[in-house]
């Protein structure tokens, strides 16, 4: 691994002029005044000797990239934090993972090359292939749905629902039993080595399938492929597309249609899909295609609030306050449901919503937080109906 100097160079941390704009937008700093993105950079630039092995602030960051968006000198703060984290765990500075790291542990188990039984959710009427042009990378939704069955059990159905939608448009996607976790959570918890092992497996599986297009429903998987994998491996010869863009294209071609009885919906931009990848409009267009009314929250697109947890590497008072802020905002729109593509956002918001420790009365946050695909599938129009 390259030294700190190289990291400072790569992320442009030298350009930081300490203007404090990052701190002014940082959601963590708003709640915990001792935290500031700029100070983390400053401590490293000044070479505070034990900052890497002791600084817990690098784990408090929720890597939402509000700071990157705001920085006039385009310092890549999240990239800097990511670099620090991989170096910090080597220096013995570990994150206090939520769920005691259960998520990371099962993901590390996947690095061993164990034969999985991943496709339990595939039913006989679903059409999937072993080789083909379109590869659907399902991600961890089913695993997370099992692990958080009391909070977001619906996630277990997410990949099945997307396959049904794709089938309805006449597409038989490749879905692989040998696919493993993309490594997003491990990477952001500082475990780059495990992520690299997972990366090699995934790329091999996709190459073997002969796919020209890989479709992702999970924003974190897409970010990891698009940015992190390509950083290590160079540009892929297959195309990476988000599900929202892929489905919109199918709707434009007249292959897919949805039907709903109206309804009010608000959309939550997850940080990975929004600020990290810049995909803002396709999900909104999908809601219009659904025939539902989209009501924007006060803070949307680049300024969207956060679910408060990053890669299960931090969860606490700050996360809870951020979740509550966002849920109150969503309730204020008057919508019935808040949709998002990120399964983690669904888990974290529902974790607070269904918690007995919810700091406000339950009537004040009357909103359902659901994964996009599960709602899409409910309103899918079958070919015969058209």
């Amino acid at each position: 691994m390259a030294g700190l100097d190289e990291l400072i160079e790569e992320t442009g941390a030298h350009d930081c002029v300490e203007c404090g704009k990052c701190t002014s937008v940082c959601p963590v700093a708003r709640i915990n005044p001792k935290f500031a993105p700029r100070l983390i950079v400053l401590r490293v630039l000044e070479g505070v000797s034990d900052s890497l092995s002791k600084d817990k602030d690098i784990w408090s960051c929720i890597t939402c990239e509000m700071c990157n968006d705001m920085c006039p000198y385009e310092v890549n703060y999240s990239g800097f934090i990511l670099g620090l984290r991989t170096r910090a765990i080597k220096a013995g500075n570990l994150p206090d993972c939520s769920q005691s790291g259960a998520v990371h542990t099962y993901q590390r188990l996947m690095t061993s090359g164990v034969k999985q039984n991943r496709l339990k959710w595939v039913t006989p009427e679903m059409k999937i292939k072993e080789r083909g042009d379109v590869f659907y990378f399902t991600g961890c939704a089913v695993h997370l749905g099992a692990l958080f069955s009391d909070k977001a059990g619906e996630l277990k159905n997410t990949p099945a629902n997307y396959v049904r939608i794709l089938n309805a448009a006449g597409i038989e996607p490749v879905v692989s039993n040998d696919e493993v976790c993309c490594g997003h959570d491990l990477l952001w918890a500082g475990d780059e080595d495990s992520m690299l092992k997972l990366m090699d497996k995934n790329v091999e599986v996709i190459r073997k399938s002969g796919a020209k297009t890989v479709v992702f429903s999970c924003p974190e998987c897409l970010r990891t492929f698009e940015i992190d994998y390509q950083d290590f491996l160079g540009d892929f010869d297959f195309e990476l597309v988000h599900m929202s863009e892929f489905l919109l294209d199918l709707i434009d071609k007249g292959k897919l249609s949805f039907d709903s009885n109206g309804g009010k919906i608000t959309y939550h931009d997850s940080c990975r899909l929004g600020r990290h990848l810049g995909i803002y409009d396709p999900p909104r267009d999908l809601i219009s295609a659904l025939g539902m009314e989209l009501i924007e929250m006060q803070n949307n697109k680049e300024k969207a609030g956060c679910c408060g947890v990053n890669a299960f590497a931090n969860c606490g008072e700050v996360s809870q306050k951020l979740q509550l802020d966002r849920l109150l905002e969503a309730t204020a729109t008057g919508a019935d449901e808040m949709l998002t593509f990120c399964p983690k956002c669904v888990i974290h918001f529902n974790c607070l919503l269904k918690s007995p420790k919810l700091p406000v009365p339950h009537e004040k946050v009357k909103i359902l937080v659901r994964e996009f695909g599960n709602v899409l599938a409910e309103h899918l129009q079958k070919k015969g109906d058209r």
């Binding site: 769920q99 005691s100 259960a102 188990l109 061993s112 164990v114 089913v142 695993h143 099992a146």
Partner: protein, 140 residues
């Protein structure tokens, strides 16, 4: 000469019932295979799902979770919570390639040393049939 496969089983036993049963099994000179490594916890409610996953990650072939009978928990509800947690672990294990049989939840009261010995024997037999864990040797 190749070493014969002997399953390695981690047993989490609660202090009040199952550990006492294991103790009594020993003092009563009941025979059970030496494949079991016992970890005493105050209550099965202390067993975080990650303990089980970590045991597998470090190469265990099986995990036994043993606690007080339902409604007999020394801490009232600890074992109910465990029952729920083991359920979703059983759900997630096959997905990541671990046979659900490798994890076993049993209620063993302090007065049931024979049950403890029987379950140990059964589990070793089952795991011998199942073969070594796919992550044997562990991932570190």
């Amino acid at each position: 000469m190749t070493e014969q496969y002997e399953p390695r089983i981690i047993a989490f036993c609660c202090n009040w019932c199952s550990y006492a049963a294991a103790d009594l099994a020993g003092t009563s000179r009941l025979q059970y295979p030496p494949n079991i490594r016992i970890i005493k916890v105050m209550c099965t409610g202390r067993i975080d799902p990650v303990f089980v996953l970590q045991a597998f990650k470090h190469g265990a072939d099986g995990v036994l979770v043993a606690g007080c009978h339902p409604r007999g928990c020394f801490y009232v509800h600890g074992n109910e919570k465990t029952a729920y947690r083991m359920e979703f672990l059983q759900d997630i294990m096959p997905m990541i390639g671990l046979e659900p049989k490798r994890l076993r939840l049993e209620w063993i009261a302090g007065s049931e040393p024979d049950k403890f010995a029987r379950i140990c024997r059964e589990m070793v037999e089952d795991l011998k049939k199942l073969g070594p864990s796919p992550v044997r040797g562990g991932i570190f």
